[in-house]
Assembly symmetry: C2
Homo-oligomer: 246 residues x 2
């Protein structure tokens, strides 16, 4: 089965790919690793497929591009390699229990670039794990945007996506859980926000139950391995019961 870790820069995709892979291996599974980040310097796992064999962001920077330009350009250069990359991943999937895909450092480079979209079109059954970290949850409206970004991944890539709070060892998760586990509680809280931003968040959260089935949020820590058993269960259920993640 194929799991793709997706999230903003700093949400912990790479560390989680490595640690969750180790966890699976220790539990007797065979695991393959795919690195799609052209800009990463060191990886804490040994990738079986690595886009940096074709192109790296820093070699493009040596040619004079700034970091963003180099990152975008690197994926432009990878477009002709999409089918080949998909074939290699498919082959790994045939030979292993799990294929863990570590996606580009910046989420939008994956969601809004032809490379990412076309690659994932080859794996409509993959499970996306949308990672967001506690530091982006400062206000009640932030919980709403976190939920909707999960839906946006689903919409852009056409894969079922489960939201997962990462780095839970760094935060008071009980407080965050109230809003993340109970959409009605969050909606009621947002109704009290006086700003137009609050009103938009309230409206968005009010319609959320119509848009998507209730999805449980995972709480993960690459440090303590909290939630790894649950992620394993969710992945298993996704592949065995066709996407019911309630």
């Amino acid at each position: 089965m194929i799991l793709a870790f997706i999230g903003t820069a700093g949400s912990g995709k790479t560390t989680l790919t490595a640690e969750f892979g180790k966890y699976l291996e220790e539990n007797g599974y065979s695991v393959a690793y795919v690195n799609l980040d052209t800009g990463v310097k060191k990886l804490p796992y040994a990738p079986d497929v690595d886009v940096r064999e074709d192109v790296t962001a820093w070699e493009l920077m040596e040619e004079g591009l700034g970091p963003n330009g180099a990152i975008v350009k690197s994926y432009d250069l990878l477009i002709p390699k999409v089918s080949n990359c998909a074939d290699k991943i498919r082959e790994l999937d045939g030979k292993n229990d799990y294929v863990l895909i570590d996606t580009p450092g910046q989420m939008e480079t994956f969601l809004f670039h032809e490379f990412g979209v076309r690659l994932m079109e080859a794996f409509p059954d993959a499970l996306g794990v949308y990672l967001f970290s506690p530091e982006i949850l400062r206000k009640p409206t932030d919980f709403c945007s976190a939920r909707f970004f999960g839906l946006m991944i689903d919409l852009r890539l056409g894969i079922t996506t489960v939201p997962a709070l990462s780095k839970v060892d760094t935060a008071n998760v009980d407080e965050l859980r109230k809003y993340l586990d109970d959409i009605e509680y969050l909606t009621a809280r947002l109704k009290l926000e006086p700003s137009t931003q609050g009103l938009l968040a309230y409206k968005l959260c009010s319609v959320l139950p119509e848009l998507a089935p209730p999805t449980r949020v995972l709480y993960l820590s690459a440090k303590t391995r909290e939630g790894f058993d649950e992620l394993e269960t969710v992945a298993y259920e996704h592949y065995c019961t066709c996407g019911d993640l309630t």
Copy 2:
């Protein structure tokens, strides 16, 4: 008045900031420019405020970070400067007809980083211009995600955001307009999509009219200056009639 150009890498923020600024200056307005991109090498305008005076992504790369790590770290280092940066922008706003803000190359570095969120909290009346380019509009569902990403900017930054298709000189815009100008037409088209992705897009677009007032999409070209008069009108209306962008 303050306009912030926001969009994914490659959507044309920097070029548009420069060209729209020139256009305004030629029409007799005084214009100030703000660069918030720590990773840009050359700018086609002379910034009045430039975050690169404090930190650049490439100096952090010289210390051994990869491009994504360096970009994130550069904004971490800018957090203590948020108030100072906001003060400078406020001062420019007092002295000029327009302040044009060119945001970080990667949209998520702005939307999901404390620096961007806190900076924009200081300017709740700013108008966001969400730029997306024709190449991300490949499938009917893509039009839905473009509309929702506009809402997400509004939600993350708390500013009114107008969606704008950029680089219209590079595409057959008549075809794209059908879906972008008429949400009912798009919704009806999405109803025909057999995929679960299509169903999600259909549901999202069905509720869009409940979530936000009808917003006209701008069609912009930094090359031909198409749509610049409309952007000027929208900015004027935003500041003079309190956000009615229909």
